[in-house]
């Protein structure tokens, strides 16, 4: 009997367990999934917790509920992987041997990477990338009398690079509805040169910031935070004052990745961007935020990767050559407030472009433009996530590889 071990039962790990359980020969293979707890959060929902639309309990289900029967689920902290011995060492001393390993341990915020950030943590400095952080921020926002609210991205790459923009847009809308916008100055601070990483989308999203009277400070790379003076200070000596700082701290992979010697300087696992195999180890594969592949860290990416990765794992099992099938496809709804959202669809080669999705002309969803349909799509996605995506069911009309049909490149871009 051979064994596949999956580290992490988040989006990527859960999908892989479901797909492999269906497609591997169960006479020859067993599947074991390891995670530190049994709490699976619908993370795209974190954005709405600070504004009182969800509580964290609304977004929580049991990881074990989404793993197929017949897959072993071990709940324990992972000490490290020993790639030379093909074994995973658990915190409680257990050794779990593997023939093939899938790393799906995701990414987390690391506020301690920025000097001074923890000094004001959950006092005047908040995150919304964790269930607890978003919940604490909800209480803070409710009581916030007014002043300067700074939405801040510390360092790229981050999980869901549009989330801080969504936060700013949605915050603007909620404040307006409650007639509190006049009392609050909204500022967006980013290490990028504009609203987004790619030119066409950066322009389109930058316009939305302007329309909403959200100030932008670009090319701002934070060296430290002076929490007592309530100021972010950049490497080139600029200072941005705040009364309330909503930050996306540096994102890093799991500490276990570093202890195992598998990671780069941000603890992401160097991974072949097309085959999704570890660059260093033939029998280790990586899915989702845990890898260093140059596309967005997002649930949609993990979903698209899973369809390619399951094929490559079946090839590896049979000793056949892998297929360089992954194109970096990402598909993200960007909530813009006013019950509208923008949809972006892109990959390694093609930046987010305007057009219609998933079908040319008829859409029904416009790309790179706020619309009601996209907002409904975003709301519907929670159901799709729990009932289709995690189970490894294909999403109708949205294949793993990006389609160019329906996209238009604007003149001069």
């Amino acid at each position: 009997m051979k064994k596949i071990v999956i580290l992490g039962a988040g989006t990527g790990g859960t999908v892989m367990a479901n797909l492999l359980h269906k497609r591997l020969d169960r006479k020859d293979w067993t599947i074991t999934v390891i995670d530190k707890d049994d709490d699976h959060y619908y993370q795209p929902g974190f954005l709405f917790i600070p504004f009182g639309f969800y509580t964290k309990e609304d977004l929580l289900k049991k990881r074990s509920k989404f793993l197929p029967k017949g897959v072993e689920f071990v709940i324990c902290d992972i000490e490290r992987v020993d790639p030379a011995a093909n074994a995973v060492l658990l915190r409680d001393g257990r050794h779990i041997a593997y023939d093939l390993l899938i790393v799906a341990t995701g990414t987390d915020i690391a506020p301690s990477e920025t000097p001074g950030m923890l000094d004001g943590w959950r006092d005047t400095i908040f995150d919304f990338y964790t269930a607890d952080g978003a919940t604490a921020l909800a209480a803070k926002l409710k009581a916030f009398p007014g002043g300067r609210l700074v939405v801040h991205v510390n360092e790229m790459p981050i999980k869901c690079p549009v989330a801080p923009l969504e936060f700013a847009f949605f915050c603007d809308w909620c404040l307006r509805r409650h007639h509190r916008r006049e009392a609050i100055d909204l500022v967006y601070v980013t290490p990028l040169s504009g609203a987004f990483t790619k030119p066409v989308a950066s322009k389109a999203l930058g316009v939305l910031l302007e329309e909403r009277k959200i100030g932008t400070v670009a090319d701002f790379s934070a060296e430290r935070i002076d929490a007592a003076a309530r100021k972010i200070i950049s490497y080139d000596g600029r200072g941005v004052p705040y009364d309330l700082l909503v930050t996306v701290p540096t994102n890093m992979g799991a500490e276990m990745v570093e202890r195992s010697g598998l990671g780069d300087e941000l603890r992401f696992v160097p991974t072949d961007p097309a085959t999704l195999r570890s660059v260093k180890h033939e029998n280790i594969f990586v899915i989702g935020d845990a890898s260093n592949v140059p596309t967005s860290k997002a649930g949609s990416v993990a979903h698209f990767e899973s369809e390619i990765l399951v094929g490559n794992i079946l090839r590896a099992v049979d000793g056949r050559p892998l297929e360089p099938g992954f194109d970096g496809h990402a598909n993200c709804f960007v909530e813009t407030g006013r019950r509208k959202a923008v949809l972006i669809d892109f990959n390694y080669e093609t930046e987010p472009l305007p057009g219609r999705f998933p079908f040319p002309v008829v859409g029904p969803m416009p790309l790179l433009k706020p619309s009601r349909t996209n907002h409904l799509g975003k709301l519907a996605f929670r159901w799709i996530y729990w009932h289709m995506l995690l189970r490894g069911r294909p999403i109708p009309f949205v294949p793993a590889r990006m389609k160019m049909a329906g996209k238009e490149r604007p003149a001069g871009a």
């Binding site: 360092e155 790229m156 790459p157 690079p161 990028l192 040169s193 990483t197 030119p199 090319d219 790379s221 060296e223 490497y235 080139d236 780069d264 300087e265 941000l266 140059p294 596309t295 967005s296 871009a413």
Partner: protein
């Protein structure tokens, strides 16, 4: 593919001004791009960073991030910002004749 005249040489560049043909890179081209980016003269400290970036690119196929440059001890992040004001990873990659760093996605 757009072309651009820097100093006395013509180079192929992408839409954001990053060189697309490494064979066209010379130290003179680097100095000319640096001037366009507001760096009057390339000092030995600049060259240390540029050469490290080229070496790293050759080995990994990617321009190193600011964090990586800092961690490998070439120069500290603070110094890097003093050498290449604005966006140092992007600016240094452009001067070194590399494609835009992939960290930004």
């Amino acid at each position: 593919m757009p072309q651009k005249l820097v100093g006395s040489a013509t180079i192929d560049v992408d839409a954001e001004g990053f060189m697309t043909d490494p064979a066209q890179w010379t130290r003179e081209v680097a100095a000319a791009i640096a001037q366009e980016e507001g760096i009057a003269a390339l000092t030995p400290a600049h060259w240390k960073v540029i050469e490290y970036m080229q070496k790293e690119f050759k080995e990994t196929g990617q321009a190193p991030s600011i964090r990586r440059i800092n961690k490998t001890g070439v120069v500290s992040t603070k110094e890097l910002y003093e050498l290449f004001p604005g966006g140092p990873a992007k600016k240094a990659a452009k001067i070194a004749g590399l494609k835009k760093p992939e960290g930004c996605v």
